[in-house]
């Protein structure tokens, strides 16, 4: 075989400057939101624990950016970047973390259980005879997760299958930690998705730990993407802190899902840069490992890429950083003003017919967004 004379084309090569900047914005915004949450946490304004995605923002953005805005996502506790990428408004995050009555779960669900169902899903549910709805809605489905790890995978498969049955052009993307791949639900869900050729992309995050448990006590494989070898679906491993590399793999997987070629899994190699949550000092993590990964901060690396590609200069990046910080602060402040849920509503809405409050629907576009 003759050697290939030119490098294979990468999807990321054709990303425009505003798109690159937008990706950076999503990642930076995710980080700034979490920084703000830390402050609120210290002020005891966050209800419950605070789980951060520090150091993992890159993979969240890179994977989600491969989706259309009308696709479905099932994020877990370290996917703030994906939430930003899909257009969740920071205010909703802060409302939710402070268990406010105006949050989409109306203060009922755990802080990180962000949900956002666009109006069209409600239409689907309500109208029996409406025929197939169009596909021109530019609003993603953000499924509210539950704490039981792994359960989101069968649900994600069903989202893909259900959307296909409804004739919608939709890909479903679910993130899952290394630890959560050990659950039975993960296995059953991904196997079923594989057999059904569901339009599903699973992103399995090897961030070296599940709470305190190192990956070596979680699985005897070395590459997390091999979890997918049991299902006969494509799987690839990628450097999770290289946003464009992540995007390239994700784009391939998303495109094939959209083309009806079925489910796949992306293994990302990354690192959880703090403890499991704020209460965890991560004593069990070897110092050298943290130091090694500190050099690979996804946002720092991506800023450099932006400059190398001439998408932004240092000044512009500093500006964006500042924008993100102040946007996060504003949104947090606004959220703080929101009232706590009314105790009188506590037992309402358990069953249909008693839905006293529709969630607020509000997706946002990035300041770098142009019809692409």
């Amino acid at each position: 075989m003759a050697k290939a004379s030119k490098k294979p084309e990468k999807a990321s090569d054709s990303l425009a400057s505003n798109q690159l900047l937008e990706m950076y914005w999503f990642g930076r915004l995710a980080r700034e939101i979490e920084e703000r949450l830390v402050i609120l946490f210290r002020q005891s304004k966050v209800i419950g624990g605070l789980y951060r995605s520090l150091g993992q923002e890159g993979e969240s953005v890179g994977t989600a950016y491969a989706l259309k805005k009308s696709d479905a996502v099932l994020p877990l506790i370290r996917n703030m970047g994906a939430l930003m990428t899909m257009g969740i408004r920071p205010r909703e995050i802060f409302l939710q973390y402070m268990a406010k009555g105006e949050s989409n779960t109306r203060g009922r669900d755990l802080n990180i259980h962000i949900v956002h169902m666009p109006a069209w899903t409600r239409d689907l549910a309500l109208t029996a005879d409406q025929g197939r709805p169009g596909v021109d809605h530019d609003e993603p489905v953000v499924v509210g997760p539950i704490s039981m790890l792994g359960d989101s995978i069968p649900v994600a498969a069903g989202i893909g299958m259900g959307a296909r049955m409804r004739g919608r052009d939709l890909v479903s993307m679910a993130w899952i930690g290394d630890g959560a791949t050990s659950t039975g639900a993960f296995h059953e869900g991904l196997n079923f998705a594989a057999v059904q050729k569901a339009p599903l992309v699973v992103v399995a995050e090897d961030n070296k730990f599940a709470y305190s448990t190192p990956i070596s006590k979680q699985m005897a494989i070395k590459r997390i993407d091999e979890r997918a070898a049991a299902y006969g679906i494509p799987h690839e491993m990628v450097d999770g802190n290289d946003i464009l590399a992540v995007y390239d793999v994700a784009k391939r997987m998303v495109d094939r899902a959209r083309a009806g070629e079925g489910a796949s899994l992306i293994g990302v190699d990354t690192m959880r840069m703090q403890g499991h949550a704020q209460h965890d000092d991560a004593r069990y993590v070897p110092k050298t490992l943290v130091e090694e990964w500190q050099k690979k901060d996804p946002l720092t690396l991506f800023a450099k890429t932006l400059m190398d590609r001439g998408a932004a200069n240092e000044k512009r990046i500093t500006e964006v950083d500042r924008m993100a910080k102040s946007y996060a602060a504003e949104e947090a402040d606004a959220a703080e003003q929101s009232p706590m849920p009314d105790p009188a509503t506590v037992a309402r809405g358990v069953y249909a017919g008693d839905d006293y409050a529709e969630p607020t629907l509000e997706f946002v576009k990035s300041p770098f967004w142009e019809k692409q």
């Binding site: 109306r106 509210g144 069968p154 649900v155 069903g158 049955m165 919608r168 869900g189 196997n191 079923f192």
Partner: protein, 324 residues
Amino acid sequence: MPVVTYLEAIRQALFDEMARDERVFVMGEDIGAYGGAFKVTEGLIEAYGDKRVIDAPISEQAIVGSAIGASYMGMRPVCEIQFIDFIACCFDMLTNFAATSRYRNGVGVPIVVRGPCGGGVGGGPFHSLNPEAFFLNTPGLKMVEPSTAYDAKGLLKAAIRDDDPVLYFEHKFLYRRIKDEVPDDDYIVPIGKAAVRREGTDLSIITFGAMVYTALEAAGTLAEQGVEAEVIDLRSLAPLDRDTILDSVAKTSRVLLLHEATLTGGIGGELAAIIGEHAFGYLDAPIMRLASLDAPVPYAPSLETAFLPGVTRVVEAAKKLVQY
């Protein structure tokens, strides 16, 4: 009106609802070409194709989990659990994901999970379960169990049209043993309404599922001995029909709770609590419970017969009650 079996009535409901609403689809193990372990879904795949009649791997969590996902996309999935005992394998998905979604998110989960329950057919410990009490302490779920063919059809249609997750238990002992008149026309039996199967004045036997027939047989025997038992068929286990229950107690003042699941921790407790709290003034005797013995369901027919609450034990209990 045509007379059909309990099983055929369930099948009709599936056919009808799939015809009525293109969002309805069924999923489960061996439900396609094979027509299901009990042939409840026979013919469905021929009529509606394999996109709406999905043979699933042996993965109860995936079946229910993907049904939840599909329901989020506006579909109305009906999941078959081959034997309801295996619902234990997706207990988490049902109680944590499906049951709480509306409360947490305002996003309902209109799925039906159905399967054959109950004993009396030599199924042994893992093919005879009556699991209602497992789910009774989880707000957000509904549960029904028909005893007649009419109700089997009407309740399944109601369950499919319901906007919340409904567990639909079909008693396998009744599948081909019970036949009654079932309209071809569309009708539903509303969830949450009990039925009075026999009127009586001396005591109320409150029960459901296959035990309705045990109760009716016992009531027949009792009548010969001058004791008039009222027999209430709950049909809906969550929510319970308090009005019908309390009305009957107000009339008879004596209550025998009868269920096929084992005694301790069974649904009889919930019924006893409701009646004890809200009909205390009417009671002339202790509320009695009769149920299967506190053991796994044994396999040997000699054991299973001793295990289940049979007619003789019902008659004895009723007589004790009226003599109190």
